[in-house]
């Protein structure tokens, strides 16, 4: 072997390894394999060699050149990594500084509570309906077996509006129940529907009352719906909404449009029944009213009261949402204070 190649072969690794920057490595590369390097010189001299030596010397040169190229590439890769690492180190930032913050809004607690309630019944195969907020006295009261002189129809309880003829008795619905009548008029049994919506009463705003609030109404009608079905359905709802260990109590009550009627208490979700601020001591929280649809309602909407039975229920959305999340005053649901809305999730 050409002594110059031998020398190169021994010296090159040290030179490559000593290169401490990409620039130095480039210079070393020039020195060992560049135009002025012994390798280039030997290659240039190949033509003058005897023909039988040329392939031997040629192979030797290539062998050494390849060896060195591998060394250089390896060193370059190391140096590039080092350079990038240094660059990235310099690029480090304090990510606790807010810099490109995206604001998202929140759903109102009333909406998310309604969605949650509705979805439980959708899971049971119910449909969801929506109805007018300005309603006629017939739908809001008469169809629901509430006589003309019932106290709830007094102006002290119900907000009336000037629209249409005076006999129309146009009012702001006091309950979502008128949709029972509208839905049954539009659909033959079987009916399984929930109706969320706004309702109105002639009240001033205080901690627990508001002239505007929300209810979710439910109605199930079929040929064989029983009081047991009512209980089972609402017990299921209570467990889904308030938690799997929720107990339920049905107390007889009175509503004009259901009979038998009941109010439903659930075991307090604040204290599990031992007494606390949420339930006020007894360990039960009243959450909804319900009952078997009164035959008079079926008669009013043109259903055959001898052929079908059904149950209906209604619950106050604010009441449930406030109790569950510890809201102290209903105004927090209406002021739209972004510091409050931001808490809803």
């Amino acid at each position: 072997m050409d002594p110059r190649l031998e020398t190169l072969r021994t010296q090159a690794p040290g030179l490559v390894d000593d290169a401490d920057s990409l620039e130095a490595l480039d210079a070393v590369e020039q020195q060992v394999v560049g135009r002025a390097s012994p390798i280039a010189e030997i290659r240039r001299g190949l033509g003058q060699l005897p023909a039988e030596e040329r392939p031997i010397v040629g192979r030797a040169v290539k062998e050494v050149a390849d060896e060195i190229a591998v060394l250089v590439d390896r060193r370059r890769s190391v140096l590039e990594d080092e350079a990038e690492t240094a660059l990235l180190a310099a690029d480090a930032v304090d990510l606790t500084v807010p810099m490109d913050e995206r604001a998202t809004g929140t759903h109102h607690l009333i909406t998310s509570t309604i969605d949650e309630i509705v979805d439980i019944f959708v899971g049971l195969g119910y449909r969801v309906a929506d109805g007018p907020e300005v309603e006629t006295g017939w739908y809001n009261f008469d169809a629901l077996n509430t006589p003309a002189d019932h106290p709830a129809r007094a102006e002290s309880d119900t907000l009336y509006v000037d629209f249409g003829e005076p006999e129309d008795e146009m009012l702001l619905r006091t309950q979502t129940s008128p949709m029972q009548a509208r839905y049954m008029q539009d659909h033959d049994p079987p009916v399984h529907v929930v109706v969320p919506g706004r309702v109105f009463r002639n009240e001033t705003l205080d901690a627990t009352h508001s002239p505007v609030f929300h209810q979710v109404e439910g109605l199930a009608v079929d040929t064989d719906i029983t009081f047991g079905d009512l209980k089972g359905t609402l017990e299921h709802f209570a467990r889904e909404f308030f938690g799997p260990s929720t107990g339920t109590r049905f107390r007889p009550h009175f509503f004009p449009f259901t009979e038998p009627s009941a109010e439903v208490d659930v075991t307090c979700f604040g204290c599990d029944g031992s007494g606390c601020k949420v339930c006020g001591g007894p360990g039960w929280v009243e959450v909804l009213g319900c009952g078997m649809v009164d035959p008079a309602v079926f008669d009013a909407v043109g259903y055959d009261s001898a052929g079908v039975t059904g149950f209906a229920f209604g619950m106050g959305v604010e009441r449930m949402a406030m109790a569950r999340h510890g809201l102290t005053h209903i105004r927090h649901l209406w002021e739209n204070d972004l510091r409050v809305l931001g808490q809803f999730r």
């Binding site: 009333i110 019944f121 009336y160 049905f250 107390r251």
Partner: protein, 800 residues
């Protein structure tokens, strides 16, 4: 209805004395317990005693030596009080008694050498008041040796019940006794309502000229001595929430609470002609009721009158003229039945609600006037020393006919889900006073006179369920016939999710506003939002109109937040507005479309250190609408400038669905309106009709994206200000060719561009579906785009 358990014990011997257990039973019966108040004396073992002797203490000036008899003979008691002498009836704590809630045990002890076997008590020591100056001196009605606590009707518990309006019978002690007796399967008893024989004959006559009074009973009681009623009666009334007034008035109230039957006592000497006429009010007739208010009557009213004038408003309130007073000696006891709707309307018309009217309007037991009258006469004799005269005078115009109800057993099973045998049904109904018999497949029942709510078969089903106990019915869960959210409902949720994702929070505002709110918006005179439906009976001016726009509520909310230091406000609401259009036909409700409103104040964009937040302006609103439309797959949104209040005249637009349907307006609020709400900077508002956004857009089909290379070129045009960017984009997009997108990226006004003109730069991207475009094709498209914009009056910038 407040029920004292001690009082209740007069009518029923309950198997438990635990108030909680009794309350639970009442809850299970449907009489909701609102609270339980436990009353216990602060003392134990205090007896009624008589002071036999009072002497000076041999070795002390400030105390005296007495002997007191508490039923087992005189015993020595040293006492420091001086407000009594021998013969006084006093409460005495003997050794073994404990005062002050257990903190003060009484023992035999020596006071200055004399052994005192107890203590005579002051009101303060018994926890009955602040008076500590002297001992309590009782009246002679207190029997020596009796437990003093008994006289105070203690211990006791008062259960506060919310009685549902269908159950007037439960607004009485006997009604509650009957319910509990039925629940526990025990008997109950009436108080003594037997007639008292009367002396001589009474001159009283009763005539009913109006059958809205089905029956009227009256009896004269002479020789009444007006004064306070006995302590036990006062205490019972007080626990029921009724103030004690005088023996005659208290007896009347006591009978009402006991039997649920309102009664009235007239001063009989003030009843002209000793004659009662029940009649309609005369037009223009005046009557001053017991509350001192002069009432103007009419034929709708029903009046109890004497020979000369009206003396009370039937079933509602007595009149001042015939009121009993301290000088009354002869009383007329009135107990009547009244038509419930008449009383309801009458009390509402006169804004006069009394304990009596509250009961009559729901329906009082029609069989109760006669026994109640006897009961009241007895109690008057017992507590006020009166003696009845003659017989009870009874006049009846409409006899009570109880309903006969045929209850098919199948209805019980269909409703309750359990086949109950007739015997069990009858067992549940009988204790309630329902006379029931069984046939093959029915129970035939007769309505009790005190249950106006029991007239139909379903009413009896409820009674059976109630008495059997709601807890006894096994639960089952039917599932619906396949439900789910409709397309519109799903899309509404997506819309809300998009809004919150875009940084807006959901607000809820009232459905009302006042006239001032519409004025503050500065709406045009012919704007349909000006004609709002009026609320007939609003409580406040701010609630006098139904909203025609969501903006006032949202702007109020924005103001609230700005006032509380939240400068960047982004709120939306989806809710109904109400349009005052002619009702097309009877019974049709007004149009009340759902609207999406939003308001932006402050800045938008990402925030942080050195961030480039952009103050909101009309473009923020348009961009928001476009993003919303995209989020629910609505397609391109058209934007057309409008000059419409409450928007800024040059910064407002209507927005159009891709089929050209206008679905709302968006822009900056007119500065005048912004000032009216005190909002700083540019305020962005929008109102969109929700229905066109939620409408099912139909099926969509996949478009294969081209893998061919694209060619981009930019063109800057000088345009008259009358040409909108949208028109330029549209003109370029309309050029037939491989145009993929046209996006404006620069807008310039200033030196180099004449007034009334502007420069708009757009980037055009071409891409063919199937091949690489040649440079000739790109050059040709460029020329055609320039030509297309030239048609609009635009010239290529630098080429003009």
């Amino acid at each position: 209805m407040k029920v004292s358990l001690r009082w209740l014990a007069d009518y029923v011997d309950l198997p438990t004395s635990d108030p909680d257990e009794i309350a639970r039973a009442l809850d299970d019966l449907g009489h909701e317990v609102e609270g339980i108040e436990r009353l216990a004396p602060s003392f134990e073992g205090v007896l009624v005693g008589r002071v036999e002797t009072v002497e000076a203490h041999p070795d002390a000036d400030k105390v005296r030596l007495t002997t007191v008899d508490t039923g087992d003979g005189p015993t020595d008691v040293v006492c420091g009080a001086w407000n009594f002498e021998a013969g006084a009836i006093v409460p005495v704590a003997r050794p073994g008694a404990v005062l002050m809630d257990g903190s003060f045990p009484i023992t035999e002890r020596a006071i200055r050498g004399v052994t005192s076997n107890g203590m005579i008590c002051s009101a303060k020591e018994l926890g009955l008041g602040e008076d500590a100056d002297g001992i309590m001196v009782l009246d002679d009605g207190f029997e020596v040796g009796t437990d003093f606590a008994d006289h105070l009707e203690m211990p006791d518990a008062v259960i506060d019940l919310s009685i549902t309006p269908n159950r007037p019978d439960a607004m009485s002690m006997i009604g509650i006794a009957r319910e509990l007796a039925a629940h526990f399967g025990i008997d109950w008893r009436m108080p003594d309502t037997s007639p008292m024989p009367g002396d001589g004959t009474s001159a009283l006559t009763i005539e009913i000229d109006d059958d809205r009074c089905p029956r009227f009973t009256g009896r004269e009681v002479r020789g009444v001595e007006m004064g306070p009623s006995p302590l036990w009666m006062q205490l019972r009334l007080e626990r029921a929430g009724v103030r004690a007034i005088s023996n005659v008035v208290d007896v009347s109230n006591y009978v009402m609470l006991e039997l649920g039957q309102p009664t009235h006592a007239f001063d009989f000497d003030r009843v002209a002609g000793a004659r009662i006429v029940v009649r309609s009010g005369h037009e223009g007739e005046k009557l001053t009721t017991l509350d001192g208010v002069e009432r103007l009557l009419g034929p709708e009213d029903i009046v109890v009158a004497d020979d000369e004038h009206g003396s009370s408003l039937g079933g509602t309130m007595g009149g001042e003229d015939s009121e009993v007073s301290t000088s009354t000696t002869n009383v007329l006891v009135e107990v009547a039945s009244w038509d419930p709707p008449t009383i309801l309307r009458q009390s509402r018309r006169h804004a006069l609600r009394s304990e009596a009217s509250a009961r009559y309007e729901r329906g009082v037991d029609v069989a109760m006037p006669i026994p109640a009258n006897h009961r009241m006469v007895r109690l008057l004799a017992e507590t006020a020393g009166g003696a009845p005269v003659g017989e009870l005078v009874v006049t009846e115009t409409v006899p009570f006919v109880p309903a006969t109800i045929r209850l098919p057993l199948s209805l019980v099973e269909r409703t309750l889900g359990v086949a109950l045998p007739a015997e069990e049904i009858i067992d549940h109904l009988t204790p309630l006073g329902v006379e029931a018999t069984a046939t093959d497949d029915e129970v035939v029942a007769v309505q009790p006179s005190w249950r106006p709510d029991l007239t139909r078969p379903i009413d009896l089903v409820e009674e059976v369920a109630r008495l059997r106990g709601y807890a006894t019915f096994e639960s089952s869960t039917p599932s619906g016939a396949g439900g789910g959210l409709s397309t519109e409902q799903v899309r509404e949720r997506r819309l809300r999710a998009a809004l919150t994702g875009l940084g807006l929070s959901e607000a809820k505002t009232f459905s009302f506003h006042g006239h001032g709110a519409l004025d503050a918006l500065g709406l045009d005179a012919d704007d349909p939002r000006q004609s709002a439906i009026e609320v007939r009976n609003p409580l406040r001016e701010e609630e006098s109109l139904l909203r025609t726009t969501l903006l006032p509520g949202l702007l109020d909310a924005a103001r609230f937040n700005v006032a509380h230091g939240v400068g960047d406000v982004a709120l939306f609401e989806i809710g109904r507005v109400f349009l005052d259009e002619e009702a097309p036909e009877f019974g049709t409700v007004p149009e009340q479309p759902a609207v999406l409103g939003f308001v932006l104040v402050g800045a938008s964009g990402s925030s942080g250190v050195g961030s480039n937040r952009r103050p909101v302006d009309a473009f923020s609103g348009v961009g928001l609408v476009r993003a919303l439309a995209a989020s629910i797959g609505m397609g391109a949104v058209g934007v057309e400038s409008i000059d419409q209040r409450p928007l800024h005249p040059g910064r407002g637009a209507r927005v159009l669905r891709d089929d050209g349907l206008e679905f709302g307006v968006v822009g900056e609020l007119h500065p005048k309106a912004a000032r009216a709400w005190g909002l700083p900077g540019r305020v962005v508002v929008g109102e969109l009709t929700v229905a066109p956004m939620l409408q099912d857009p139909g099926m969509w089909l996949f478009v294969e994206p081209s893998l061919q290379p694209h060619a981009d070129f930019d063109l800057a045009f000088v345009l008259p200000d009358s040409v909108s960017a949208a028109a330029v984009v549209e003109a370029i997009a309309a050029v037939d060719g491989a145009t993929e997108s046209v996006v404006p990226f620069d807008l310039y006004r200033g030196p180099g561009v004449r007034d009334g003109q502007h420069s708009l730069a757009v980037r055009i991207r071409l891409r063919a579906a199937d091949r690489t475009l040649t440079s000739d094709e790109v050059a040709e498209m460029r020329d055609r785009c320039i030509e297309s914009v030239r048609q609009l009056g635009g010239t290529l910038r630098g080429a003009e």
